[in-house]
Symmetry: C3
Subunit: 325 residues, 3 copies
Amino acid sequence: MEKKTRWLTYCDRVPVLSWLDWVLRGFSQVMFQNNPLTGLLFFAAIVVSAWQANAPQVAWGCLLATLVATLSARLLLKDRTALTRGMLGYNGCLVGAALPAFLAPSAWLWLCIIFSALMSVIVTVGVNRLLKQWQIAALTAPFVFTTWTVLLASHSFLRLAPLPQPVLVSVTPPDMLPQLSHIIPATLDGVSQVFLCNSPAGGILMLLGLAVSSRLAMMMALAGSLIAVLIAMLAGAGSQPIESGMYAFSPVLTAIALGAVFNRLGIKTLCYTLTGVVFTVLMQGAFNTLLKPLDIPTLTMPFVIVSWLFLLANQNENSPLSSAP
Amino acid sequence: MEKKTRWLTYCDRVPVLSWLDWVLRGFSQVMFQNNPLTGLLFFAAIVVSAWQANAPQVAWGCLLATLVATLSARLLLKDRTALTRGMLGYNGCLVGAALPAFLAPSAWLWLCIIFSALMSVIVTVGVNRLLKQWQIAALTAPFVFTTWTVLLASHSFLRLAPLPQPVLVSVTPPDMLPQLSHIIPATLDGVSQVFLCNSPAGGILMLLGLAVSSRLAMMMALAGSLIAVLIAMLAGAGSQPIESGMYAFSPVLTAIALGAVFNRLGIKTLCYTLTGVVFTVLMQGAFNTLLKPLDIPTLTMPFVIVSWLFLLANQNENSPLSSAP
Amino acid sequence: MEKKTRWLTYCDRVPVLSWLDWVLRGFSQVMFQNNPLTGLLFFAAIVVSAWQANAPQVAWGCLLATLVATLSARLLLKDRTALTRGMLGYNGCLVGAALPAFLAPSAWLWLCIIFSALMSVIVTVGVNRLLKQWQIAALTAPFVFTTWTVLLASHSFLRLAPLPQPVLVSVTPPDMLPQLSHIIPATLDGVSQVFLCNSPAGGILMLLGLAVSSRLAMMMALAGSLIAVLIAMLAGAGSQPIESGMYAFSPVLTAIALGAVFNRLGIKTLCYTLTGVVFTVLMQGAFNTLLKPLDIPTLTMPFVIVSWLFLLANQNENSPLSSAP
């Protein structure tokens, strides 16, 4: 608390530090944290993963888009409360990671990232207004909406060319059955896939970032990813998507949201969160089939749908967790 | 009333009877009734249809899922009013009929039915909360949502294998033109398809079940099915889907909902219901095309969409049926 | 004002004139105007375009459907305020233009137009009720919903045959790159495509119609179309869709809605509208890809989605245009 106050005092004095603070909190809000140090560790994880995959544009896109989103929010909105908590930056951050991961690099790509980051702010404000009366958060829906729009549009405009394969997907040889020894790397990959990365080292850095802000959130993320990997293996999902963490990143977010952010800890909450994680794995399988004809990635939509439902179902006195509001 | 009271008195004394009562009311709520005898006749209809089609797993799935949904609701929710009316069982009942009708039997299927029945309760509570401010019911949307998720996911997980053909679809030889003599069986099939069955005998038992609770609902169901079959024939739909009742089951539910449950009877209501039935047939044709690339069934979504619209349009003083609230 | 009053006095005396007035205002509301003269010029534009394309059924369909929608609203609803402003006719008008443009002419087509016009009224009342609490308008969503339903259903019913090619699409030879000299015709085509026409002369008549009611709306429509054509050219969309105005008609409506109807004019509003127009072009590209597997047209859905978002985002004191409510 003391330390935080000192940092905020510096920020108040040096405007550039304020901006840095807002951008870092934007990174950290991707996993529901409001902590610049967490944001710094998340960004370090992205940098490490991007360089490992020889795709530094993902890290730059992430940084640029979070900056543009923060700047847009600063210009467009009077009330800065949400801005200073990073609530208007995290969707931009994800858009900035996703577009260079799926589109070929070009000047138009960067123009598109800047415009999409601005869009992500308007969409976030719009979706928040839409959901206000149910008192549920926009989660990463604005990111998914904006990115899907651009990726679908890229098939209509020659200047935006979709890549034959996302830059950050590992090209491990496909096995028929996933190896037991791959459970741990797949779990860590699952955490890193929240930022569209595919790197166990990145996953560890992100868990570290979470631990700095909330140990509970870190444990939920780790447990969510592990459980998702195990269920996907047992249910017979393909080994390639399991091992690159594709079945785990949405459950990671569901676990943090239901288990560490929006409900009070307890046995009931743990059961509710576990149910939500299992349903998110099922929903991930459903979205894989649903989007195959369109050839666009599911992004975090399985998490958004399941979490909205579970948050909606838990809102009044007659709800599953009513005794633990 | 007297008889009902005696039954409820027995239920109060013997806990097992209470559970039976809730499960039977869950069956009956599929067609908007709150009557254990109706539920019993509905279940008899399912049993007859399932054995006729040599697919008893549909009847068992139905029973198991309604039980699990009722149990989940009992554990999760404090307020038992909805539970005792069967309002938390009917979506589970339909999920339990649909999954064994479209997926190959296996231990994983039964595990999946149990989990989906639990899900149907959480989704029902969530959707009810979502729709609360418009004062419209969830209808069978939670069933459709949960079943679509599992069926789409079955393409991603080896343990859940979609059947090459739904077990309850009759394999009548396809004619180019539907026969006039098939109108009556098609109408009865349409009623039974509400529970994913395909049996005139089942349809008759279901109409009997409705008559026990509400003669108006029974007449609406029969008329809705007949009108839908006639329109589909006139408009030139394929004879195979018409004769197995595929164009009639959503209109059956639209007719009961608009004509016998949510509006007061009268000439205006009859016209409004007829319009809704015709629009549901059109919507069924639209959903057939919409879902063809995904290879999943429409289930009762055409009914849900049309009824939501017609109920929304009829809510304030300046509405089509305003004089008959 | 004086002239308008005299016209309304005539209307009060002669019932047939009242009906004419309501129908013409229905036409004019397609572009957010409440002016019978504008409606007359719009209808003249449709007639000119339809005869140029040798497809008079589009003009007749438009007239018939607006009449039926107005009549249905008169019979169904007590409150006539919306009716007398044309608010219940414009969706019918568009349905009546779209169905003969995409379906083969037949007695069933005309039956279908009449039923769809009736449906458009119920859907409009329903959607208005749905959106009431966010205080945003239904826009052309009821038209898109009704038309998509019929077009999708036309693949299921033999009596409704989809045309191999929409009647009003010009068959200019496809170039790889759009010609600079085509910018002006493409811009005018874009305006006329709001009514599913494809005629520079029609576009000019529509701009005239707008000018009669609001010069600002006319300038927004023209600028919106021009900017959309330029962006689509720069971004490398196909020359054929650009030149037939396919990238411009949704931005025309976005520009009028955001720039001339729902926000007060000013620098901020101009920037906001420009952003909305660019996003609508992107959304048009996205919907082209999204609907390709279903083989149905995007209609004005890109406009509806973007405008809803931009109107939602601009609703409270902490919104982009808060200083200009």
